[in-house]
Amino acid sequence: MASRRSTKSTARTDTDRPSPYAVELRGVRRTYGRGDAAVHALRGVDLALPRRSFTAVMGPSGSGKSTFLQCAAGLDRPTAGQVVLGGRDITGLSENHLTKLRRSRIGFVFQSFNLLPSLTVQQNVLLPQRLAGVRPDRRRAAELLGRVGLDGHGRRRPGQLSGGQQQRVAIARALITDPEVIFADEPTGALDTGTAREVLGLLRHAVDALGATVVMVTHDPVAASYADRVLFLADGELAGELADPEPTAVADRMVALTASTAGPGRLGAAA
């Protein structure tokens, strides 16, 4: 993967040396609306995620988790601040450049509706390559499908797969371009516990065995425990982190966070 990245001249930063971080956020703010109606989803976030790491982002509802993910992944533009991806500032890129960047250097796994229902599993996995106009690498697609435990499912359609299998196809698709980072937005939100565990295991495997970098937004302490590090967001700001998280420790921190932001009267609202 390192060799591929070095061939991209566009990936150079001002230091002209590959950055040690896959993603860096510098003073990122995101405000929706104007005036009195303005919502400050992110109030200045600074962080750096090292390569080959698995980071979970947690926080109560409305803490800015999703906005954080969308800004970091180039799906949305910050109101202020910089997002640096693989050493390259993507804040000022045109929509077309951003699209090409997403296509080649970022992978996505959403909570649901990850796959185009009209395409076969294999075609879904190869979709980013096809959009990029690169010759589809069927061998690699088959290999990735094997790694996510879907050997021989390449000709099926998403409608014929279970929810967990669909998420695994999404992971295979995210991996097909050897991306800088894989962003996962509640990837287990719609799955039962057993299936969720398998999907999380796959993401872990992608980091450990394939050298990927994974950023996952979740509200499930068990899911978060698969990460190397958990970042907590509250009211659009970083509210601490936890290395090598244990589910119970994560849960305790979440309860504390929810209590402090929502107040005792709304405790039950956070889930």
Binding site: D76, N96, T99, R103, F110, F113, L116, Q123, L127, P128
Partner: protein, 830 residues
Amino acid sequence: MNGLARASVRFRPASFAGTFIALLFAAAVVTACGTMLQTGITAHVAPVRYAHVPVVAAADPQARITTGHGDNRDTETAPFTDQPRLDTALARTIAAQPGVAAAVPDIAFPVQSAHLPPLTGRNWAAHAIDGANTVRGHAPLAGEVVLDTATARAAGVGTGGTVALTAPGGARTYRVAGLTQEAAPTAYFADTAAATLSGHPGKADAIAVFARPGVPTDRLAGQTRQAVGTHATVRTGDGRGEAEQPQLATAREMLTAIGGSFGGIATATAVFVVMGTVSLAVGQRGREIALLRAVGATPRQIRRTVATEAMLVAPLAGAAGILPGVALARWWFDQLVDKGAVPRGAQLSVGWIPMVVAVGAGLLASLAAGYLAARRPSRARPSQALGEAAVERRRPGVIRTVLGLAATAGGCVLASVAAHQTGDDAASVALGVVFSFMVAVALLGPVVAWLAAIVLGLPLRAGGAPGALAAANTRANARRLASAITPIVLVTAFCGTLLCMQGTLTHTARQQIRDGVVADQVVGSGGAGLPAGTAERAARVPGVDTAVGVLRTGALYRASGSLNSASVLGVSGDPHRLTTVLQPGVRSGSLGDLTGDGRTVAVDSLLAGTTHVKVGSSLTLWLGDGTQVRPRVVAVYERGLGLGELMMPRAAVAGHAASAYDSQVLVHDRAGAHPADVQRALARLDVPGLTVTDRAGYRAQTDKDLELNAWANRVMAIVLGGFAAVAAANTLVMTVLDRRREVALLRLTGTTRRQVLGMLRWEALVVAVSGLVLGGAIAWITLIPIARGTTGGSPYVPPGIVLAIAGGALALSLAATALPARALLSRPAR
């Protein structure tokens, strides 16, 4: 990228079914109208009677006027209202040419006899035209007739026997001089007698030209052309069919109008419906597009995918619509032939051009719609797209609003233009007005729908949980609501306008007849009409005070650069006594000033308005046979729509009408006479097919005249309304099926089947009611100026039509919602 589009179409054909149906019906309607247009341009009939005549000279069946000057010169034509004729004297000039063996004037007129089928009366010379004629007996002299064998057998006479015949010029008994082998029932009279009997002496329908041996047709035609100059057109080959059936010119004009004016509107509607359906279909795939954007599809790639899908679906759907379209055109054409609007023998011309246009229009429309609809989701940032897939944007764009307001303004301008149109053109202008408003509704749809949802939401919220849910849904999804409302508006506006326009005309005409016809008795005819002199004979019947013969014909007049046709009533007798049987509501001048020499005319007030004439000024008219006259206006009256837009003395128009029969004789009883006695006495008048009725009989005749027009409008309403109804049902089904997830969620949260159906039913009602109100408003705005232009009053809305349209729209909305909803509910929630 082609692969993506192909995959979508091939593996999820259901999501393209809506687009496919819209395109199919669009192609069918466009093909049908295009075929009618092509037939109007190319229609011809093969000569039958003139098949053995090499060259025929006939009058130009069209009136021509030139408007503008220099480079802007434009020639406007219109077919004469009756039978165009030329001077019999031309036959002598043609016969003088060296290559001409004989030039025979052809004169035809309807002849009636008490117990015989209708006959065609002809001049004896014309028997040479039908080459197969063999004659037993001798040529008819004065007071003699030659009959075809079949008629003679039916009448039970042979050569030397006598038969009573009635011709427009009068009735008498004839001695049968001979028999012919003619196939059609025919009576040949002596040449001089035929001219008088026809009612138009000195004029012939055509002149058949025979060549001397060895003279080729083109040389003969050339010589004939030289002889007639500009007084006639010379026809050979299939052109002879047109001289034989001059109504072909009228038929062509009508077909061209159907294919051109109506077809233009229909095509625009089709494009409109296709674009609406395609953008709805693309809009429903917002999630898919957002996903594609997130995993790295550029806006251009999205647009190209959508365009490619259109390229895949449109030609197939268009091709599938061609056959139904041709079938529709064939049905329409056959109906027109049956109704006598198109002469028998004319063929529907089915060609590839309308088909290519139909498929091409569908393709271009769906391409354009796909590009436009994909523009916003493809341009939006993926996060926006992912968000928008769930929550729709309410405020329409600036361009959309400006265009929508422009379309509204355009509709209003067109509507005011429509106020100056007369009957024939009003329908097409009306459709243009409706269409402008439709575009406005489509563009401003979300705003309109949002307003409708708010207004109708108030009572809905009182309707329990389903009602409250429906109110919330309609308000939050104004865009979806708009795409369902628009086609309902389309149905209501089109059908409402066309049917109520006709209803207004019929209603006004009837009212004018009720007020204007004051005759005590109406003498009518079950056959071709009443011969000249019937009125005078009726006047001598005991108990009759006044008897006025009325002859119906038509004329062309010029108004604002175009030629229009008007109905003409020829009245016999003393014009001062006219008001005892007809009260046309004279506004200025006096009917008593009408003179029999054809130099005077009375004019309906609306026609006087469009032609800018008043009492004392002159008006150029082309009478039924093409004779141009310029009479002085002596009176302006009000009830022209019911009684006739122009009134002239019978003597001035009879010779120029299709047949010189009176259609009716209106009788005013002497004071104190018993109506039943007068009626019995009148019935004893010896005229074949004579009927005596009260004044309602007048209306029956007028209704017959209005019938074709009414039928034409009804067919247009059915074609356009039906197409719009299919589009409406299609859209509703599409919007309901798209709500699978929402319905599943409702079911999971404990909403019962009944409640879901109830909610959807309320929503369907919101759609139907707002569509009906909007469509009704558009129809009303369109009808007001048109009613003023054609009837001088306000529109009349027949309650039956209102009920039918409202009931139809309600039933359509409810059914198109309930059926797919049941399908959704029968599937397990997922």
